[in-house]
């Protein structure tokens, strides 16, 4: 029978990345909410993502369930290890998710749902970053269980990663707004996006310098010959994308900044994959050790290969229907 672990590694890697890109920009719009001037701008910002946000978040549910189905051992170790970051991320997602509906239904208490949208988006993003930071730091494992305590996550590197992701999602959100809006809001978003781009580059630098000292596997992966030559394009391409995005933000290009911001996420994700492969629970359980039984992988793969193309088709259709600039008065249903 063919080995399904590499295929599933790609599918899950892709699914998680889809989540980061898609929910990244709509969480980013939430993080930028307090910087809007007036309810009109906030309406536009929210309406630019209202028709697609719950499709975007569905990729997170897919990530959670697919990790359980495909790499159950990783799920059973990582999720309890991140008990609080995950609970806080979920509460953040709840508070910002309901704001989409409640804000337009509210009259007197609209400002509370503005806060809930901002606070929830910020918390969800920060704690996703904390999850990511802990993932890079690795987990204490004993047999088939997490061996640490529910507060192990609280340490400097994950907190830095949390701030970094806030900056990153805000950059995605700002460049999304450059693409989807016009006039003053667009101009403001351009300015924000340039600052956020600088912030993201600073965080990329800090994380890149910190991680090799944290885990010897990462140092060995990047700084030995011939790997150094193979992986040299990663920082070079990252720098090129950053340069292009910076200039596109300075000119009147609407779409390039968003593509550039997504490009930066692609490169960071690739860097992460290079650093951590072949571990799914760094640095003790490999993808292969954590994989489910061949029968489970095969049963799920058949349907996934059939269903994913449909998911792409109607996701694309939905984005296509709501293409173009978002304008006032379109948010009612």
């Amino acid at each position: 029978m063919i080995d399904l672990v590499p295929i599933w590694t790609l599918v899950i890697g892709f699914g998680v990345f889809m989540y980061v890109l898609l929910d990244g920009f709509d969480l980013g719009v939430g993080i930028l909410f307090p910087f809007a001037r007036g309810e009109e701008e906030r309406n536009l910002m929210m309406n630019s993502v209202a028709p697609v946000w719950d499709g975007n978040e569905t990729w997170l549910v897919l990530g959670g369930t697919a990790l359980l189905a495909v790499f159950p051992l990783a799920y059973a170790i990582i999720i309890p290890a991140l008990y609080f970051p995950i609970a806080l991320m979920l509460l953040g997602l709840i508070l910002r998710g309901v704001a989409f509906e409640f804000r337009f239904k509210a009259t007197r208490y609209m400002h509370w749902w503005n806060r809930s949208f901002f606070g929830g988006s910020l918390a969800a993003t920060f704690f996703q970053g904390v999850v990511l930071g802990n993932f890079v730091r690795g987990f204490a494992v004993d047999g088939r269980h997490f061996a640490g305590s529910s507060f192990d996550w609280l340490s400097p590197f994950p907190l830095l990663a949390g701030l970094g992701l806030v900056c990153g999602y805000a950059m995605l959100g700002a460049t999304w707004l450059v693409m989807k809006t016009e006039g003053e809001l667009q101009q403001a978003s351009r300015r924000q996006a340039r600052w956020l781009l600088l912030g993201v580059l600073a965080f990329i630098l800090m994380v890149s310098l910190w991680t090799p000292f944290m885990a010897s596997q990462i140092a060995a992966r990047w700084f030995t010959w011939p790997n150094m030559a193979y992986f040299a394009p990663v920082p070079v391409v990252t720098a090129l994308i950053a340069w292009t995005t910076w200039h596109a933000l300075a000119s009147d290009r609407d779409t390039v900044p968003f593509l550039g911001a997504m490009g930066l996420f692609v490169m960071c994700y690739a860097g992460l994959a290079i650093s951590l492969f072949p571990y799914v629970v760094p640095y003790s359980v490999t993808l292969r050790d954590a994989a489910a039984s061949p029968s489970s992988l095969a049963f799920l793969l058949v349907g996934t290969m059939f269903l994913l193309p449909f998911v792409f088709i109607y996701t694309f259709w939905s984005y296509y229907v709501f293409r173009g600039k978002v304008r006032a008065g379109i948010g009612y249903h």
Binding site: P51, A76, P80, A87, S295, S296, L300, R327
Partner: protein, 459 residues
């Protein structure tokens, strides 16, 4: 005092799922209702259906949003609090949960945007198609999640290796013995719940003599549907019970409050079960009736709770009373439906103020019955998380402490009370406001255009 992480994790799971299940209980039926209204409008171009659809779509949007966010919590609960359950069952249940996401969640969320915001951007048939896909998504979701739940009740098609469960026969896993009954009973329950909620809104407007054409149409539709579904639900409940007697006899013994295994088992109408002394207090019972409805034979023997050691019995009182609440409300619903049936031949339901007032009061009944039914089946499965295989207390994450769970549970309670309080408030307010005025609906109808570039420009 030491806090028990198992008990607190159970409370947390019960809390988040009880709130979550209220939303599908409403949206599964409502999605189908909106689909029917959109279909009728596309076919007959009758503005009453359009106004009703616009009205219910607004309420649906609020309920669905709450369903989405409270649903995202669920797949992470298995990991944060029940990692040993996840490790043991993932090879069997993981693919089922994932199929729910791929086949159902994406379908719902992908088309929801068009249903809610796209009426002016796509042709009418495409909007109707989106309504159909959202409704289909909610039904597929019910199938996959109930397949997983049913496997935990009546596991089949697996083998055990080192304390973990591995798939042997996927068809046997999916179509395990209790799935057909649980699926039919649950989905019908969801439809009944929605129908009573829709009927309550209609009756409220009729009582006040406002939105009369829409309210009359929707009251007739829902009461017509309920005339079929409520009796059907009682039959399905009976069949589900018979299935449970076969596969989980101790759960049924708890539901019935039967301690001794005996023939001509009585139907206990009222009792205060006493688990410590293994008996009932203040019992009122009808002789031999339980044997009849459980085994369809007066002389059949029914297993009692004492046939297994007390360590294998569920908490009897909760199961016993939740079951009585569910059945009692079912009978109440049947009475209201019978009343509506009589009124139909006596000049119409919309004229009887007593009937309208009763129908308004029936609003929460379906929801309470769903929660009660869920409690019967889930608490009745205890002390097992996977019936007969894995005990709940062996399923909890080893790393979490009682204090961890207490903290997270408190946070969930605070956030859920705020969110559900606000959501219910907004939905009730929308329901009271009623369908949109003639002009607003005509606007929506006139704005229907085939998709064209930049159609969002008209504001």
């Amino acid at each position: 005092m030491t806090l028990d992480p198992v008990l607190l994790s159970r409370l947390q799971f019960a809390f988040v799922i009880a709130f979550h299940i209220l939303l599908p209980a409403f949206t599964v039926g409502l999605a189908a209702y909106i689909m029917v209204l959109e279909g009728l409008y596309v076919r007959r171009r009758d503005m009453v259906y359009l106004r009703l659809s616009l009205f219910w779509t607004k309420i649906f949007a609020v309920a669905f949003g709450m369903g989405v966010v409270s649903g995202i919590v669920m797949p992470f609960q298995f990991g944060t609090n029940w990692s040993r359950y996840s490790d043991a069952t993932a090879n069997v249940l993981g693919p089922l949960f994932t199929y729910e996401v791929l086949a159902a969640f994406f379908l719902e969320s992908g088309f929801l945007g068009i249903l809610l915001f796209g009426r002016k951007l796509v042709p009418p048939w495409a909007h109707f198609f989106s309504a159909c896909m959202v409704a289909l998504g909610t039904l597929l979701s019910s199938f996959w999640i109930l397949a997983a739940n049913s496997w935990m009740q009546t596991p089949a098609g697996y083998e055990v290796i080192d304390g973990r469960y591995f798939p042997k026969d996927w068809l046997a896993i999916l179509f395990n013995p209790s799935l057909p009954y649980r699926l039919a009973h649950t989905v019908t329950g969801f439809f009944v719940t929605t129908a009573f909620a829709v009927a309550a809104a209609a009756a409220w407007h009729l009582k006040r003599r406002e939105h009369v054409p829409e309210a009359t149409a929707s009251l007739k539709m829902t009461m017509g549907l309920l005339t079929v579904l409520v009796p059907l639900q009682i039959v399905l409940g009976d069949l589900h019970g018979v299935n449970t007697v076969e596969h989980q006899p101790i759960k049924v013994a708890a539901m019935e409050g039967l301690w001794e295994t005996r023939t001509r088992a009585p139907a206990v109408l009222f009792a205060i079960p006493d688990s410590k002394n293994e008996t009932n207090h203040a019992e009122i019972a009808i002789p031999a009736l339980a044997s009849l409805y459980l085994k369809h034979d007066f002389d059949a023997s029914v297993e009692g709770l004492k046939s297994v050691p007390s360590s294998e019995r569920p908490p009897v009182g909760i199961v016993f009373w939740a079951f009585r609440v569910m059945v009692g409300l079912g009978l109440l619903m049947a009475a209201v439906v019978a009343w509506s049936f009589v009124l139909r031949f006596r000049g119409g339901m919309e004229r009887s103020r007593a009937f309208l007032a009763t129908t308004v009061a029936m609003l929460p009944v379906g929801f309470i019955a769903v929660i009660a039914g869920w409690t019967v089946t889930e608490v009745g499965r205890q002390p097992w998380v996977v019936y007969g295989l894995l005990r709940t207390r062996d399923a909890v994450s080893p790393s979490i402490t009682g204090h961890d769970v207490l903290l997270s549970l408190a946070a969930y309670i605070v956030v859920y009370l705020v969110i559900f309080g606000a959501g219910i408030y907004y939905m009730v307010r929308l329901a009271k406001a009623g369908p949109p005025a003639e002009t607003e609906a005509r606007d929506a109808a006139l704005d229907e255009r085939p998709a064209r570039p930049m159609s969002g420009a008209r504001a």
